[in-house]
Symmetry: C2
Subunit: 316 residues, 2 copies
C-alpha cells in the first residue's frame, strides 16, 4: 500500500542559474514538494574521479553551502589536493575544492561499485539532509560535446579550460542514444502539478535533459502546467555562455529566441521586466508570457521570483 | 648498448623505521647508489582510492617532506577531505592528509588505467626528483592479513583501526602465491654490493617482501653482503607492534629473536649497544654481529648508523 506521492513541482536544472532559482523555490514552496531533474551531460572524469558539476551545484545550493561568489563549489573550501596534484602534471584549470573533491571521491567509489547514479544522488541528498528530491536525468553516461572551428571538445574543456572562448557551431550529446531517463524522471514529469525549466542555458543545461529519449515526449504529453524562465535578460545572460551560443547557433539573442526553442514544450514563458516589450512576440508563439523581475540578486529576490512563477503557473 | 648499472645498496623497506634508516643512508652514500624494495603488503583501498602506506612513507622520507612527528604522511598536511568525507559515513580512523590523498588519487587513476605498479612508483619518485630508485616488491596485489582470536582482518584494520590491540596469531599474505617480483627486484638483489634489511617489522614489513616467490631465493643466493638491523632494542621496539608480534608468534623478544628469523638470509646482524651482551648469541646463529647505536633520534644519528652499517658490510 504505497502512499500516493504528489510531486508538486519538477524543475529541469543545470548550472548556476538553476541552483539560484531552486534556492528561491524551496523558500516559496515546501522543499519536499520539489523534484529536481539534473543535467548530467557536463559530468566529467577529472583526476580519475567522477565529477558531476551541475548536480553538485544543485545539491550544494539546496544544502545552503554553495559558494555564493562563484555559484559553484562549496563556500570556504580549500584547494590543498588540486595544488598537490600539480606535482604529478595535472592541469590546474579544473579547480575542484577539497570538500568538493570529497564528494567526487565518494561518488567515484560508488560508481565503481556499480551503484546506479540515481541512488548515488539520492544518498548524497540524504547526506545533506535535503527534503527536495534530486534525480539525475539518466543513469547512463551522456556527455555534452561542443563543436567549434577547431573540432569537437568535451563540454568542460569548452566551459572551464577554454572559458567559453570558442565559437560554438553545434552541441551534441555523446551516448544519449543509449540513455534512458533515470528511475523516477518520467513520473516526476507526468505526475507533477507544474514543470519548470529553470533559467539555465537551453543548449547545454536544459538541452541534454530534453535529449534523453522519452523526456521530451513526457514533457510534451504531461498534463502539468509547464513554465520556463528565460536566462536571457535584455539580450544578455547573467552568467555563462547562453547568449553567445544563441548567436552562433543562429537564434535570436533574446527571451524570444529562448521561447522559440521551447515552443510546444511550455505553456508559460517567464521573462524579465526589461524585456516587457517582447511579451507579444512570446505570446505569438502560442504560450502565455509572464513578466516579472527575474534578476536573482538576493535571497529575497530568488524567493519572490519563485513565488511569482508558482502564482503564474496556478492561473495558467 | 646498455650501461652496466651497479646497484650498490638495496634496502628491503617497510614502514617508519625503514624510512628513517633510508634518510640516513642517502646521507652516508650517494642516493643514486641506493635501490629500495618496498613492502606493498599493507596497500589498502580507502575511500575507493589505492593507498600504499609503506611505499609513500619511503617516498616522502626520501623527498624530505615526511611528517617527522608521526613518521608517516606529509609535514604540514591538512585534512579537509577526510573531514568532509565524514558526511558520507566513512570512518575517520584512516587519517589521510590532503596532499597524501593527492598522491592516492594520482596512483588510483594510473592503477585503473592499467599502469603497472613499478612504473607508477617510478613516476612518483621522478615527480619528487628522487635519485634513489624505489621498487614495489611486486606489481601484483599482495595483502597482509592478521589472524587474531576473533578471526582474520586486513593489516590496516589491525594497525590503524584497532591500533594493534589484537593478539596476533598468524600473519598471512593474500595473493602472494600469484605474485611475482616487480621488474628490477631480483636484479637489485642479485647485482647489489650489499642488501640491507631495514630496521622494520620482520613479520609485516620485511615478511611480505620475502614471501613474494623468488625474492627469498634471490636473497639466499646473492653474492652481495647481506645485513639486517634489529628493530628490537633492549627488548622493545621504537615504533610499531614488532615486539608484541615476536611474543605472540612464539619468538624471543630481542635482537636474537629477530636474528633467528633472518638466519640464512643475512651475513651481518646490526644490534644496538644496549644489546651488546646478545652479540655472542647472534654470532652463534652463523652471522657476524655488529654493535652500534641504532637509535635514530636525529638526522646525524641516522646518517651515522647508515655509515656504520655500510662500513661493517665492507669488511663482512
Amino acid at each position: 500500500m504505497c502512499p500516493t506521492i504528489v510531486r508538486m513541482y519538477t524543475v529541469f536544472a543545470g548550472g548556476v542559474g538553476a541552483s539560484r532559482f531552486l534556492q528561491g523555490l524551496v523558500q516559496a514552496v515546501d522543499p519536499a514538494e520539489v523534484t529536481v531533474i539534473s543535467n548530467t551531460g557536463d559530468d566529467v572524469e577529472m583526476f580519475g574521479l567522477h565529477v558531476s558539476p551541475d548536480t553538485d551545484i544543485v545539491l550544494y545550493a539546496l544544502a545552503g553551502i554553495v559558494n555564493p561568489e562563484t555559484g559553484w563549489g562549496i563556500a570556504g573550501d580549500t584547494f590543498a589536493v588540486v595544488d598537490a596534484l600539480q606535482r604529478f602534471g595535472y592541469g590546474r584549470w579544473f579547480n575542484l575544492g577539497d570538500r568538493d573533491l570529497a564528494m567526487a571521491i565518494h561518488r567515484t567509489r560508488l560508481v565503481h561499485e556499480g551503484v546506479p547514479m540515481h541512488r548515488i544522488v539520492a544518498g548524497l541528498a540524504e547526506a545533506f539532509d535535503l527534503r527536495t528530491k534530486v534525480l539525475p536525468m539518466s543513469n547512463q553516461p551522456v556527455r555534452t560535446q561542443i563543436a567549434g572551428p577547431d573540432g569537437v571538445i568535451p563540454f568542460q574543456d569548452y566551459m572551464v579550460r577554454l572559458r567559453t572562448e570558442v565559437e560554438v557551431r553545434e552541441v551534441t550529446f555523446d551516448g544519449v542514444g543509449a540513455a534512458h531517463p533515470a528511475p523516477g524522471v518520467i513520473e516526476a514529469i507526468t505526475d507533477a502539478r507544474g514543470v519548470i525549466l529553470a533559467p539555465s542555458n537551453p543548449f547545454v543545461s536544459i538541452g541534454p535533459i530534453l535529449a534523453v529519449p522519452g523526456i521530451r515526449d513526457a514533457l510534451e504529453g504531461t498534463s502539468a502546467v509547464r513554465a520556463a524562465i528565460s536566462p536571457i535578460i535584455a539580450g544578455q545572460v547573467v552568467k555563462g555562455p547562453a547568449a553567445k551560443m544563441l548567436a552562433t547557433l543562429g537564434h535570436e539573442v533574446s527571451a524570444v529566441g529562448v521561447a522559440k526553442l521551447y515552443r510546444g514544450l511550455v505553456d508559460l514563458m517567464v521573462i524579465d521586466e526589461q524585456d516587457r516589450d517582447l511579451a507579444p512576440q512570446v505570446e505569438a508563439l502560442g504560450m502565455r508570457c509572464f513578466v516579472t523581475d527575474t534578476m536573482m540578486t538576493s535571497p529575497e529576490r530568488k524567493a519572490a521570483l519563485a513565488a511569482d512563477v508558482v502564482a503564474a503557473m496556478a492561473v495558467a
